[in-house]
């Protein structure tokens, strides 16, 4: 009988805890949602690349598109110049949904070198990645003069995360 009463106390304590204030919101938004995700994910046929695409979202997909293009074009040493995120935020107003990855993360995703407009290696950039609401564009930078013009255009937008 006492064991039964203590069992009731256990259930009551758990019920109260799971429904107390913010715990209720958190529990349904996180662990319960994660459980639903599990039920879907356990039957998923996604491969590793698919899981990465799903998890990292649009920016990862864009990065991998860049990699595919570089492979198709057989570019030996591609160096991708990213537009500053402050440009996306202040001018195009698409940040943070669309944003340029930092070079370290871009390298992790693709194995390709990326640079900011203020990077020490910016002089090596041979492609410019441009993103907008309309889509993405990879523009080849053919000579230092063109690169200089590109950098001058983005001068008032400092690189940021």
């Amino acid at each position: 009988m006492k064991g039964f009463l203590l069992m009731l106390v256990s259930f009551a304590a758990i019920f109260i805890l799971l429904n107390a204030g913010y715990y209720k919101e958190w529990f349904s938004a996180k662990p319960v949602q994660y459980w639903s995700d599990f039920l879907k994910e356990k039957d998923d046929t996604l491969d590793q690349a698919g899981i990465l695409r799903q998890r990292y979202g649009v920016v990862y997909t864009i990065c991998m598109r860049v990699k595919d293009v570089m492979i198709q074009k057989k570019i030996a040493h591609p160096v991708i110049l990213f537009e500053p995120n402050s440009f996306y935020r202040d001018s195009l107003h698409i940040y943070p949904n669309i944003h340029a990855p930092e070079p370290a993360v871009f390298y992790y995703y693709t194995g390709l070198q990326g640079v900011w407009t203020n990077s020490p290696d910016v002089g090596k950039a041979n492609f410019l990645l441009m993103m907008s609401k309309k889509g993405i564009k990879l523009q080849e930078i053919k000579d230092p003069r063109q690169l200089k013009l590109v950098l001058a255009f983005y001068k008032k937008y400092p690189p940021s995360l």
Partner: protein, 518 residues
Amino acid sequence: MPFLVYLLLLIVYLVSGLGILQLFGLRLKPAYTITLSLLLGIALASFLPFLLQLFYIPLTAFSVFGVLVLGAIMLSIPTVMHIRREGFGGLRASLVPGRVQVQPYEVPFWVIIGFLIFVSVWRCYYLPPTSRDALSGPEAIAEYAFREHTLINSFFKVDLWSTNNQFKSPFLICLQLVYKLAGFPFGQVWLSPIFICIIVFLYNALREKVHPIIVGILLLLFIMTPETYAYTFMILYDYSNMVYMFLGLYFLFAYFSGGDKKNFYFSSLIIGIATYIRSETLALALLFLPPMILAQRRAKLPWKEMAIPDVLFFLPALIGYFLPNGVYIGHYLPVHYDVGALVNANLGDVSPLFKRYGDIVNRLLVSDFAVKLWGYIFFVTAALFVAEAVFVRRFTREALNWLYAIAILYLGLGFLGWLLPMVDLNDTTKRGMFKMLPLCLLYLANNTLLVRLSQNISRWELAPSSPKAAGKPAAAATRTVLTRSGKTVAASGPSGKTAPAGGKPSPAAPGSRRKRKK
């Protein structure tokens, strides 16, 4: 195949960790022995590949798994000697629990805790690492170490202007590498054993102090801290650092209580591991020197006998600090990190220090934001602290130890934020606060009011249902006595039964296994 390697790795950890426990001569309950062995083995697995790198040995599957197995074999020597001395029975007693006494009312707690653990383990396994701090540093280094067989790899040729995560401890990098080599492309699955081990350890540690129902509630409060829970499946340093720092303090306080040097030196090793994971732990560890000296003076140790052990105590932490920071970052990496340049240039102005202390309280402890980070665990702790201060007006020595640790952490984190402005409030300090959670839990387990409540529940539970049947009134079965040290202890227990929790003075070595009669 990866799962087979995963299981084999767990066995390697268990063997290595068990060997380390034997080296320290620690005899603990099976639950403690197994969890600590695994945690020590994981720490070792994060350190040995790093050592290989320091000797420029290529990090291939052969070398990495080879060194782990070799380490396990070498560390199993003390275990083998133990077996030769005491036979397999001694080892079995260390690893196999005797009669497990699980009360039915504990099961609902384990079901919900099991659910939370399962969900976390699945996310660890299925999803890739996502935090920016991991992707722009340790995870990327581990990925290229996997491909290029060295931690000093092509990642360092990338523009790293926007990040300093390449300078983080090799702890995470090496564990990621081990599991990528084992066939888990996202790594991460090493975090789940750490999570499960600390939960099991905490459950047993709390169970020694309070009633299982209170243990269940406290443990749920701990697991359900939203921010910390997220870090059980999101690899970074802070959750692991919390685990090892807590264990270090647990054994340090065990030394304070019982004076057993084994606990002292074991604590030193664990705090060394915590420092290897996060270097600022060294500063926090140094702040435990005063209570250490106080405990030793209380035990009437002469100064000479105190000085050398106290210096030795910090040796593992110093190694854990200088090997990754001084040696590896300073002399191996192609890019360098000038920590001196990060120090606050205006140390004469202490107003930011007090502002930081205020911000920690206002933003990280009592705000709406704080509730979203930690749930209500700090509020519960504060309420019971005030209640104990008002109604009991004294704290047990164990409770004071944990309260001191909480205060030191608060003061230390604030000080670090002032000394190094890059230690920002919303990220670094916030994650540093993880360490406060198990401290709160252990304080609560030593809170006199909760201990008394536990005793009352246990007494009621164990008393015969019918007073007549027992031959005496149920209420007279036990009597609670407040000792001079502020402990509440049961003066006498119901005959033939052991109270599930509370009611007995803390053992000198927590969880220490009593010798069984043959």
